[in-house]
Amino acid sequence: MAPAIATTLSTRTVRSPAHRATRDPAWARWALTAIALAFLAFFLVLPLLVVFAQAFSKGGAYFLAAVREPDALASIRLTLLTVAIAVPANVIFGVAAAWAIAKFRFSGKSLLTTLIDLPFAVSPVISGLIYVLVFGAQGWFGPWLIEHNIRIIFAVPGIILATTFVTFPFVARELIPLMQSQGTDEEYSAVTLGASGWQTFWRVTLPNIRWGLLYGVILCNARAMGEFGAVSVVSGHIRGETNTMPLHVEILYNEYNIAGAFAVASLLALLALATLVLKSLVEWRQTGSA
């Protein structure tokens, strides 16, 4: 009796009705995969390809010349300077906010998290506009700044401030849920064993959050280097002085220097690809060590 049942079970084919309703039919699998890939190829891959194709459309020498031109180099320097200030500032904030929210009890936590998320909901142009309203010539501090000969709007400090606003939530949003899910047990143990606050943070908390922190830094960095709308409003668009790389791309494009514009743009595109690679690596590490 048993062998007969076993044989029946082992020869049961996939076409039984019960199994049919849990698997997509082959034609559907092919069709959906084709649709998904075609959609992604059309909307993602094609624009990426055209960046590099246009960048080299006048040859490699033209590409190098466009990238090494003084204004282009100045824009690269300004972008890097902006990132070097905005990202660490937001990292410190992110860590402080996550520490306060995850390790302590107080009311108003969800209001605080919503407020931290605000810059995500604000259009980049408006992000720049509000800084013009505060620091611009007609703004709240305008007359005081002019009196003391400090230039914020239409100068580098304004660009850094606007970029800091736009990338404000990235690190905090990564760290807050991570630290909340990690709880407070390890920190409590450290304190009961006599560690000071800073020791607890550096030697217990930080190693636990390092991958989340890195992830947040990668995202923050990518957004900071590529920010366009907010910087466009606060920058004076002065070539060689107050143009970041995206603004320089815009200038070249509007002058019909298409190959030059795409040459600088391809550097940014390479940065984007590097961001994607790093992001995937960190995600892989995070799930690997989870």
């Binding site: 309703a21 993602l44 306060a100 919503t114 259009s123 407070t184």
Partner: protein
């Protein structure tokens, strides 16, 4: 060891971390944002309505909201398909494609803008096929729609993917043992499960598209009353030193963004409530 009795925790650093958090948040985010509202509060109601309801501004709202809605819907449909394919099927190169879905997040908007314009302009790779057929994309409403679809692409995929991954196969098996066909299982069991995350993704894509500037401003052509998006209108007014007009429009956009943010938070709460089966 004497430590100040804190009802919150024995961990130190509460005052320092919360104080710094609130100060930084206030200075960088809250004070500048309030500047927009305070400036607009100084306008008379008549001036405010004149600034935010003139024909040119209304045309810009229609374009921004309309194209963002359309792009959101397209991303909802195709984003679901992409998420389904990525979660349930295997094919060569899947991991690369999965990583590539985040490209619109990582790519600077100006780069996306000039790339899309180059693709769809009359002598572009795609444009030179479409224009003879009568489809003009660059410098029209359609171009704005295409750019916003690009921008919103990852939102739906990334909100639906985790939910799809955590769906238990037992539900589908139960449905099939009760006699449902595959189509019935998909439409009556799975889709309702995915609806909260689909709507969250749609709302996120919509919110992003509404304020988008860099990817759109190149392909739209920026003709007033026809292809002028609201962020560009704000910049134009700034360049004309019409600070009040620009700020008034910005306040309208800010209020809609905050309403959307609230909606998204509610949607995420809804999806978490139904998510644990």
């Amino acid at each position: 060891m004497a430590r100040a009795r804190n009802s919150r925790s024995i961990l130190p650093g509460f005052g320092l971390s919360l104080g710094f958090t609130l100060a930084y948040l206030g200075l960088i985010v809250l004070v500048p944002l309030s500047a927009a509202f305070i400036k607009t509060a100084g306008m008379s109601w008549h001036d405010f309505v004149g600034a935010v309801a003139s024909p040119r501004v209304i045309a810009a709202y229609k374009l921004s909201f309309g194209a963002s809605l359309a792009a959101g819907f397209v991303n909802m449909v195709f984003g679901l398909i992409v998420a389904w394919v990525l979660v349930r099927y295997t094919f060569p190169g899947k991991r690369i494609i999965d990583a590539l879905v985040d490209l619109p997040f990582a790519l600077p908007t100006a780069v996306a803008g000039i790339a899309l314009t180059s693709l769809y302009s009359p002598n572009g790779w795609v444009g030179h096929w479409l224009v003879p057929l009568g489809f003009r994309v660059a410098f029209t409403w359609t171009g704005v729609f295409v750019a916003l679809t690009f921008i919103g692409l990852p939102f739906v995929v990334r909100t639906v993917q985790p939910v799809l991954q955590e769906l238990e196969p037992e539900i589908e098996e139960a449905s099939s043992t009760l006699g449902a066909s595959r189509i019935q299982t998909v439409t009556r069991i799975l889709l309702p499960e995915l609806m909260p995350s689909l709507m969250t993704g749609f709302a996120l894509a919509f919110a992003r598209a509404l304020g988008e500037y860099g990817s759109v401003v190149f392909i739209s052509g920026n003709m007033p009353m026809k292809t002028e998006i609201v962020p560009l209108l704000i910049i134009t007014k700034l360049e004309q030193y019409d600070y009040r007009g620009a700020t008034a429009i910005a306040v309208v956009m800010l209020v809609s963004s905050f309403v959307l943010l609230l909606l998204i938070n509610l949607l995420q709460k809804w999806s978490r409530r139904y998510h644990t089966i």
